[in-house]
């Protein structure tokens, strides 16, 4: 009997440990960003599922489709880092490293655009053709800003543009709908 209880407790502990240790499939660890010295801009927004579902409740009567979209999200993480002489190389390296890692981990690059000093990359982690588990947007805005965005959850591909519109993520707003491809 004590052996059985011990085994049950051990397996329970391992289950919880396993869950705590691994990130959800669509989540990306960008690492910790520190505000740059010299007064450059720095913005971080980290929204977890409880806060997102709270926002969904606020809009569920007026905009049920947006509420449904928000309810599917687990996390939204936005980092905007002003580039200075001190951090520019480091941040650019981190962005390159992140992009390479995403490709090696089975993410799909759906947008890679370089124009007028802007370098935009959008990556999707899909479970099957119908479900997006995670989304990463990386933007290098000349030598001024770097943007890292990660959205985790159960997102329908046709809702990505709506997501971009509602969360004010410009690169997502202009994504073609799946049937337009």
């Amino acid at each position: 009997m004590p052996f059985a209880v011990g085994t049950a407790l051990l397996s329970l502990a391992l289950t919880f440990n396993g869950r705590a240790g691994g990130l959800p499939a669509g989540q990306v660890d960008f690492g910790t960003f520190t505000p740059p010295s010299g007064g450059a801009q720095f913005v971080e927004v980290n929204l977890t599922s409880n806060l997102i579902s709270l926002a969904a409740k606020l809009v569920e009567k007026q905009e049920p489709d947006v509420a449904q979209l928000l309810n599917g999200l687990q996390m939204v993480s936005v980092h905007v880092i002003g580039l200075t002489d001190e951090n520019r190389d480091d941040i650019k390296d981190r962005m390159e490293k992140t992009r390479k890692e995403l490709l090696t981990k089975g993410w799909d690059r759906i947008v890679a655009a370089r124009q007028e000093g802007k370098d935009v990359g959008i990556y999707l982690k899909t479970q099957n053709k119908d479900t997006v588990q995670g989304l990463v947007v990386t933007v290098l805005d000349g030598n001024e800003h770097a943007v890292f965005i990660n959205i985790v959850g159960d997102i329908k591909p046709e809702k990505l543009a709506l997501l971009g519109e509602r969360l004010h993520i410009d690169p997502l707003k202009n994504l073609p709908k799946p049937d337009e491809k």
Partner: protein
């Protein structure tokens, strides 16, 4: 027992009664003092947020203002307000707030130029240990805004948050507990009005 003879039992009873009355008065006074000074003391989480900033930017900090209204005061305010005919939005705002506290501090003589990065890093560490996550952090030149929410227990009806603003050597810490349901209803009502108006304009009514 003759009428002139003192009752041997009544003397200890009276002394006990006196003891109880004195005790109750002292307890009442202590509660009153704690209650009154409580208006000028921040809650433990907001205090921890403040202390993290004060320690990350050493120098002479001066308290400019500190005020806290708790559950009892806000409940009393709601009860009193229910006797008056208030605007629905004002009524909702009053119903939403279940406690608030604010502290304002000036850094008069900084030992070194305080950096928002150091303040944010220290505040993050302290609040994380207490079970709070930073959901927003904004640094612009020497200004800093950070908002923290507890890991657990966040819902529409029970919302706790802590806010820190550092601007021109002045620190503002705010803590608030609220039930956002009444405010959500107000927002929904206003959205309905806006949508109805837009619909009518589209229909040319």
């Amino acid at each position: 027992m003759s009428p002139g003879t003192p009752n041997p039992v009544s003397t200890p009873q009276r002394s006990y009664r006196g003891f109880y009355v004195t005790g109750a008065v002292l307890l009442g006074l202590a509660c009153a003092v704690i209650g009154i000074t409580g208006y000028f003391r921040l809650g433990s989480d907001t205090q921890a947020l403040r202390d993290s900033c004060l320690s990350a930017a050493p120098g002479q900090w001066h308290k400019k203002f500190s005020l806290r209204v708790g559950l009892c005061t806000t409940a009393l305010a709601r009860t009193v307000a229910s006797g008056f005919k208030l605007e629905p939005d004002a009524q909702a705002a009053l119903e939403a707030v279940h406690g608030a506290e604010v502290g304002i501090y000036d850094l008069a003589a900084p030992a070194a130029e305080p950096t928002p990065a150091a303040l944010l890093a220290r505040a993050d560490r302290v609040m994380l240990r207490r079970g709070w996550d930073r959901i927003v952090g904004v640094v612009n030149e020497r200004e800093l805004v950070a908002i923290y929410l507890p890991h657990r227990g966040v819902s529409l009806r029970h919302m706790n948050c802590a806010l820190m603003v550092f601007h021109e050597n002045q620190l503002i810490v705010v803590g608030a507990r609220a039930n956002l349901k009444p405010l959500a209803d107000v927002a929904a009502r206003h959205l309905e009005v806006v949508e109805r108006g837009a619909g009518e304009r589209r229909a040319g009514i």
